[in-house]
């Protein structure tokens, strides 16, 4: 391990998550590598079922009971998470790594006041008094843009709208000043107008508090642009990762290119034209997957793609898992026109 890697807040090498299902074993996460630097925002992009949520739960140590996790390397600030006892793990959760979930409507306990739920983590981890915890909760509620914060502490979740609840969740994640926040599609369940507000808020807070953020989304359009780096997941693998400008300028993997072409661009996409889509469906991850998982949907698939592609390094911290990431695709075999 080089010196540089030690400085990373989160270091993930060959992370695998398997889930037993009726038909066999579902390989939800199939050996992914990525890292998160201190204070940066990494966006994990992929469609439903690509393993992005399982990855986040694996990092938090909140995987479903029957799942199995393995990794060559899973380090958070130099702490090996794979060998940590559940008790030590829970000391980290909420204190140094926090999570914001997709569904603000159900993520808060209906039976307790917001104040109670905001404060309990801080009281548990820092041993502060209830009064101190309430003061911090009021400060953070105001910071995430909730008016009459003091009165809100005595309200129950059902008295708040979805957007407000998600703001509360963000404040809750910030209570202990964590080094890392994992936000799992925090805006997906919200109205579009609220989405933009929440997104902007998260970015602001991330820069203000210097918190590293893993932002999980299926939206390569607007959302991913706020990140410092983007990692694209497909079928349980990271198939491309790059600094955000590089990814948008030079997408190296055909899947990334496909995703980008699906986004209608104002001024570029003619009105009334058909929206792009990637044909086909994600392969089943039950059982062993041979070769490139995307080849059945790939417009440039070659016989070589039957073999599992290596992770190719491109200039500028850009990586892609494609045989042809760094070279042109051979000319497709055209049927002879004249013979």
């Amino acid at each position: 391990m080089s010196r540089l890697e030690v400085n990373n807040l989160l270091e993930v090498k060959n992370l695998r998550v398997d889930l037993p299902v009726e038909a066999g074993t579902l390989h939800a996460v199939r050996g992914i590598d990525f890292h998160v630097e201190r204070g940066e925002m990494l966006c994990l992009v992929g469609e439903s079922g690509c393993g992005k949520s399982m990855t986040s739960l694996a990092l938090m140590g909140l995987l479903p009971r029957k799942s199995r996790l393995s990794a060559d390397h899973l380090q958070f600030d130099g702490i090996d998470l794979t060998t940590l006892s559940e008790r030590r793990r829970s000391d980290l959760r909420g204190a140094r790594m926090a999570m914001i979930f997709q569904e603000p409507m159900t993520a808060l306990n209906p039976a307790y006041t917001l104040g109670n739920q905001l404060c309990e983590g801080l009281i548990r981890h820092r041993g502060v008094s209830r009064q101190e915890a309430r003061e911090r909760a009021i400060y953070l509620l105001e910071r995430v843009g909730i008016s009459a914060a003091k009165d809100r502490l005595n309200q129950y979740p059902h008295q708040l709208s979805g957007g407000l609840r998600q703001r509360v969740m963000i404040a809750m994640a910030l209570m202990c000043e964590p080094d890392l926040i994992i936000a799992d599609e925090p805006t997906t369940a919200l109205d579009v107008t609220i989405q933009a507000q929440i997104l902007r808020l998260l970015r602001e807070l991330q820069q203000e508090f210097g918190t590293a953020v893993i932002f999980i989304t299926h939206d390569l359009g607007v959302v991913a642009r706020i990140a410092d780096r983007v990692a694209v997941m497909y079928a349980g693998e990271v198939i491309e990762s790059a600094p955000t400008p590089a990814l948008y300028a030079n997408p190296a993997h055909p899947y990334t290119r496909g995703l980008l072409s699906c986004i209608p661009a104002p001024g570029k996409t003619p009105p009334g034209s058909r929206l792009q889509a990637i044909p086909g469906v994600v392969p089943s991850l039950v059982g062993h997957v041979e070769g490139c998982a995307f080849r059945n949907r790939c417009p440039q698939a070659q016989p070589t793609c039957e073999q599992t592609p290596p992770l190719m390094s491109l200039p500028g911290d850009h990586r892609a898992r494609c045989h042809y990431a760094d070279r042109p695709v051979p000319v497709p075999l055209q049927p002879e026109m004249s013979s």
């Binding site: 938090m60 909140l62 829970s90 000391d91 980290l92 959760r93 909420g94 204190a95 926090a98 999570m99 979930f101 569904e103 159900t106 993520a107 808060l108 306990n109 209906p110 039976a111 307790y112 739920q117 309990e120 983590g121 548990r124 981890h125 129950y156 059902h158 008295q159 969740m169 809750m172």
Partner: protein, 305 residues
Amino acid sequence: MGTFIVRRILVAMSVALTISIVSFMLLHLSGDLATSIAGPEATAEQVEQIRVDYGLDRPIVNQYLDWLSGALTFDFGRSYYYQSTVIDLIVDRMPITLTLGGLALALAVGISIPLGVLAALKRDTWIDRLALLFAVVGQAMPSFWFGLTLIVVFAVTLQWLPAAGSDGWQHFVLPAIALGYYATPAMMRLTRTGMLEVLESDYIRTARAKGLRTGSVIFKHALRNAIIPVVALAAVELGFMLGGSVVIESVFSLNGLGQLAWDAISRNDYPVVQAVVLIIALFYIVLTLLADVANAALDPRIRTR
């Protein structure tokens, strides 16, 4: 919360009034009361005399209003069979029934909730299976048979506890176990199912993501939500134990309300039947009210509805 309780009390009172009307009518529709009081050998004149003496010749609405105005001051008239007022009989029998029902419920709650939580936490292990076996046995076994078994083992063979009577606390141990075990399986299963459901919920994941201790996640966040249906069930179970424990009361020769009602029905002692039906209905109403208030205290969403 205040208006919630007031509203519930008004509803409860109208339910009580309805029950008193329905039970009064049913009793009077079940046949000619004068004939059944007089017995099969009575002459027509004797039956008429009884009808006049007991006021059964007057319009039924007047009879009901008279009875109701008495009932409002706890005057349910005199028993036809015992030489005492109905209210004295009830006051005399009530403590036995309350003691038995209270002990049985305490036992049932004390066993079913911890066992249900444990079974849910240890889902699909031998502990869970054992808890389910305990529940199935409790549901399958008739309570009179279990009561008799307890008597045979603990009263006759081991001679640890008395088999019959109601003089001291020892007399209530076996009947409370028999009655409590009857109420345990449903509550245990409901606790287990509720816990399993709640433990899968998003807010439990949030609580765990906050790094809360396991005890706090289970008892503060999960149990409080899982217990809400159990509270309502416990109220119904206690109502049953207070009103319907006739079988257990007769197996253990406890002279409670159930026994009184049973005797009164077989002796055509209508004022007693009428009063006991109302009292038992009131038990249910009060318990349901208490369960509603308890649930509102547990779940803020109910309060503001």
